[in-house]
Amino acid sequence: MDYALHILILMSIYSIFAISLNLELGYTGLYNFGHVAFFGIGAYTSALLSISGYPVMMSMAFAMTAAGAAGALLAVPALRLTGDYFGVATLVFAEMVRLFFLNERWLTKGPMGLPGIPRPSWMNEGVAGMPIYLLFCLVLTSAVFLLVRRLTTSPFGRALKVVREDEYVAQALGKSVFILKIKSVAVGSVLAGLAGALWAHYISYISPGDFTLNETILVLLCVVLGGRGTNWGPVLGVCMVVFFGEAVRFLPIPAGFGRFIAPLQGMAYGMVLVLMMLKRPEGLVPEYRR
């Protein structure tokens, strides 16, 4: 029962993360390969503030602001780059953020990580608080889902899609491509920061090793698998990836083979990503096109 709650909480948090990446990657066509940086900034900001005594909800609000600010800050210079170069710049940015977490020990305790991150005071700690935390996550996930759906079905969302398809057409229609992209990255980063903060308060221990390229690949896989540029796609992708990832634990695996599981899982993720690109690049829920 507790295990089911754990999986649902993970799905819920990762859904926010995937929806936020999809806003940039699926709707605006910005290939952010460093999205985990904002997840990490959110997690560390919220953790550090709440550990030093701020109320959890306030720390989370600060975390979202910090992640959004970092996103806008990165976006202004990086958006001058096109396609693959934007991808490289964001990937490198994420690695720099991780190195910062690893090396600035006075702030982040370096590789030791931050233990004892509290939950909001009105939730019980440990197992007793899990149903409440799940409810809390589900409410936020639904809010994020509705917000992004509202954004993307509005004229703003249609403008984003025009930017994705053809920037010159967007310019010809009198839209500022740059401003649209900045807004998209800023909202995406704020939401990724929220996901990171939720995750940090749930897991209660974070370290730089949680924010590597592997996490980026995981969330990229969720978005690509479910379907880029759709509302339900990322959520479906997350459910499948988390479900199959956790289901592996129940396979009757002989003792001594344990060390092979993680690499096999990684190989499967990489393979699915390649196969999706080869066979079905639009994902399981293809975008509706008129």
């Binding site: 693959d84 190195l99 096999l264």
Partner: protein, 290 residues
């Protein structure tokens, strides 16, 4: 003074190996116009295949293990093209980019599956340095520099003196035109992957002889190759060569000024700065194997 001269010398040796990585990456970019994220795994494959041939059942000496390891690495490189990139050639850049990220993740985890994620070495033992003019140079460093010099001179002769080199340069200059003029695109494609994987594998082996092997070595060195590629201008072979040397020297001199934990920050910052201010490289040359 001799301290800095020593760092400069170490930098040149390391940089000549980075140049080997960067040349392959830039050749693939020059001809196929996409950044191959899985190039890093060719580096790691070269190093790990040598480990395989040196280990128990075959127990070849290092010198004997190099050739079969390189053959296998080239095989992996050609297979990348044959099964993933070739079917995607007419898709968008981004599809290729995501596929190469997936492929790199797949291969990295495959390496982890077979050899584990711990640090490994070839177990060659320490060698004494040779000193002259107050600078010391180990035998391994001489082999590194010498091999890099040999490979790069080979490439120079190939590109400037042979018909294959001429068609390679033509294709990278204008693919459509070269195709119309009757250049055998398949042959050029195979040659590019052969050179890229052989150079990456050789560099990986040299790195492993100098330091050690770990599954992430591909990614770390790929980032350095990116930095070198951007310094020289993407698609420019001679630029990549000089870029590699600059990265090596900058990184080693950087150790004198920053904490060693931030060593990779040098190449990261170079990438960001180049992307922002001179995306066409220090010489501002637009693409093409000159």
């Amino acid at each position: 003074m001799s301290y800095y001269a020593q760092l400069l010398l170490n930098g040149i040796v390391a940089g000549s190996v980075y140049a080997l990585f960067a040349v392959g990456l830039t050749l693939v970019y020059g001809v196929f116009r996409f950044i191959n994220f899985a190039h890093g795994e060719l580096i790691a494959c070269g190093a790990y295949f040598v480990l395989f041939f040196m280990a128990a059942p075959l127990s070849l000496p290092l010198a004997g293990a190099v050739l079969p390891a390189l053959v296998l690495t080239v095989f992996v490189g050609l297979a990348q093209d044959r099964y993933v990139y070739k079917p995607l050639r007419h898709q968008s850049h981004i599809t290729l980019l995501i596929a190469s990220i997936g492929l790199s993740f797949f291969l990295r985890n495959a390496i982890q599956l077979v050899w584990g994620s711990d640090l490994q070495t070839y177990g060659i033992g320490l060698t004494r340095g040779v000193s002259f003019f107050g600078l010391s140079l180990t035998w391994i460093q001489m082999v590194m520099g010498g091999t890099a010099l040999f490979f790069l001179s080979f490439l120079y002769i190939l590109l400037t003196r042979t018909l294959l080199g001429k068609s390679l340069r033509a294709v990278s200059d204008n693919m459509a035109l070269a195709d119309i003029m009757g250049i055998d695109m398949k042959r050029v494609g195979r040659a590019v992957w052969l050179i890229a994987s052989a150079f990456a594998g050789t560099g990986g082996i040299l790195m492993a002889v100098d330091t050690n092997l770990e599954p992430m070595m591909g990614l770390t060195n790929l980032i350095k190759a990116f930095a070198a590629l951007l310094l020289g201008g993407a698609g420019n072979v001679w630029g990549a060569l000089i870029g590699g040397l600059i990265i090596g020297v900058a990184e080693n001199l950087g150790v004198a000024f920053f904490s060693p934990g931030y060593k990779d920050f040098v190449s990261f910052s170079i990438i960001i700065l180049m992307l922002l201010f001179r995306p066409r490289g220090i010489f501002s040359i637009a693409g093409g194997v000159r």
